[in-house]
């Protein structure tokens, strides 16, 4: 089962990775964005981690993370990650543990809502390029073993992240650069990969 303890650990680990990699995320965001993704995500996660720890049920944890991202991030990733977590929370009901398949379905709902909010499709060089394959991998392996499914999701996210390097940006400020965005890995796809790296690490 997926428990509140696991969700707390997941969000805390995601926060640690963001802290470690904040400068790298900002560096990725410099040539093709406004050079704030690392600092923005760090501000969001600094609020999200304690909020998730203090919430009594999984839906409340995800909601608290979503609200923290909405209000603290400041950039586009705020409403996007906010939507991901809030919409995932809404599918779960007030429970302290949920089945892995329900958890995967909740993330699917959240990821779809995020893509809708950003009007982004795979191939647009956005976080969707990491999230969509990650959630698909999680769903397709979740019946076997959650740790293995989370590992598969992380691998899929990382492949999706790497593939953004050769893409032409079609969304956000990077799209103004057109062909000049090629050769740069998308910072949003990179932070989304960390989300699944964190899930894989705490699920082992």
């Amino acid at each position: 089962m997926i428990t509140t303890a696991l969700v707390s650990a997941w969000i805390a680990r995601f926060g640690e990775i963001i802290e470690d990699r904040a400068d790298y995320l900002t560096k990725l965001d410099s040539p093709i964005g406004d050079a704030d993704h690392g600092a923005n995500m760090l501000r969001g996660m600094t609020a999200a981690v304690p909020a998730a720890e203090n919430a009594p049920t999984i839906d409340a944890q995800l909601k608290a993370v979503g609200m923290a991202m909405l209000s603290k991030v400041g950039g586009t990733s705020g409403p996007l990650y906010g939507t991901l977590f809030l919409k995932a929370a809404m599918t779960l009901g007030q429970r302290a543990e949920v089945a892995p398949s329900e958890f995967a379905a909740a993330l699917r709902t959240g990821a779809d809502a995020l893509a809708f909010r950003g009007k982004a499709e795979p191939g647009d060089k956005t976080m969707v390029d990491a999230l969509a394959p990650a959630v698909a991998a999680l769903e397709s392996h979740v019946a076997e073993d959650f740790a293995a499914a989370a590992e598969a999701a992380h691998r899929a996210a990382d492949e999706g992240r790497a593939a953004t390097t050769d893409m032409v940006a079609r969304k956000g400020r990077a799209s103004y650069l057109g062909e000049r965005s090629v050769g740069h890995t998308d910072p949003g796809a990179t932070s989304a990969t960390y989300l699944f790296q964190a899930l894989a690490e705490v699920s082992r």
Binding site: L70, S71, P79, R117
Partner: protein, 234 residues
Amino acid sequence: MTVGIVLVSHSRALAEASLALAEVMLSDERPHVAIAAGMPDGRFGTDATAVMSAIEQVNSGDGVAVFADLGSALMSAEAAIDLLGVGDDVRIVAAPFVEGLTAGLIRAAMGANLDEVVEAAESSMDAKLSALGRLPQEQVGERRGGTEVRLVNAIGLHARPAARLAALASKYDAEITVSFSGRAPVNAKSTMSLMALGAKLGDTILVDAEGPQADEALDAVVSFIAQGLGDPPA
């Protein structure tokens, strides 16, 4: 009727200055306005929860028009509306920030409904295109005739008289145009377009109308202009 106005911007300074600039056009009436802009530490950014509070603060039941600058401002506004679960009475305006806010604020101050405020704001780009002579040719159209009328009020087609004229024109089911000095006709329902004509006291403008209520509209608009657009005669 008081449509609420919400400004969503990356920068509090930008939002406050845009509002101050737009408010120059108002007389006594002030619509309910709230700003959700910038981050608490002064950095650029938007906060969807602040947008939610701003919408709730100005929503008196007649609807809210949300003006957003770019990128995350639009997305935070969409997330806020989604989370509030409000219906079609809270709308994000698809208009350039300064022009749209100016046109929408004037119309809201005059007691227009939400449809009219949004329409005024969303047609504000035409005014800029027209002022620069870049309205697409097909919008110029072939006009059969129209009625000439001279401006008799002291400030001509300035903000408040233009807003009154646009409000009057909006009441008719007709496409009403105003042209001046041989330039492309503009939509008489758009305050900003009318202002962009730059017509002053003593200038003669050409009014034309097409559609189901064209005749009534033309009569009403021409006589309103001839009587001074609600201003005291010069």
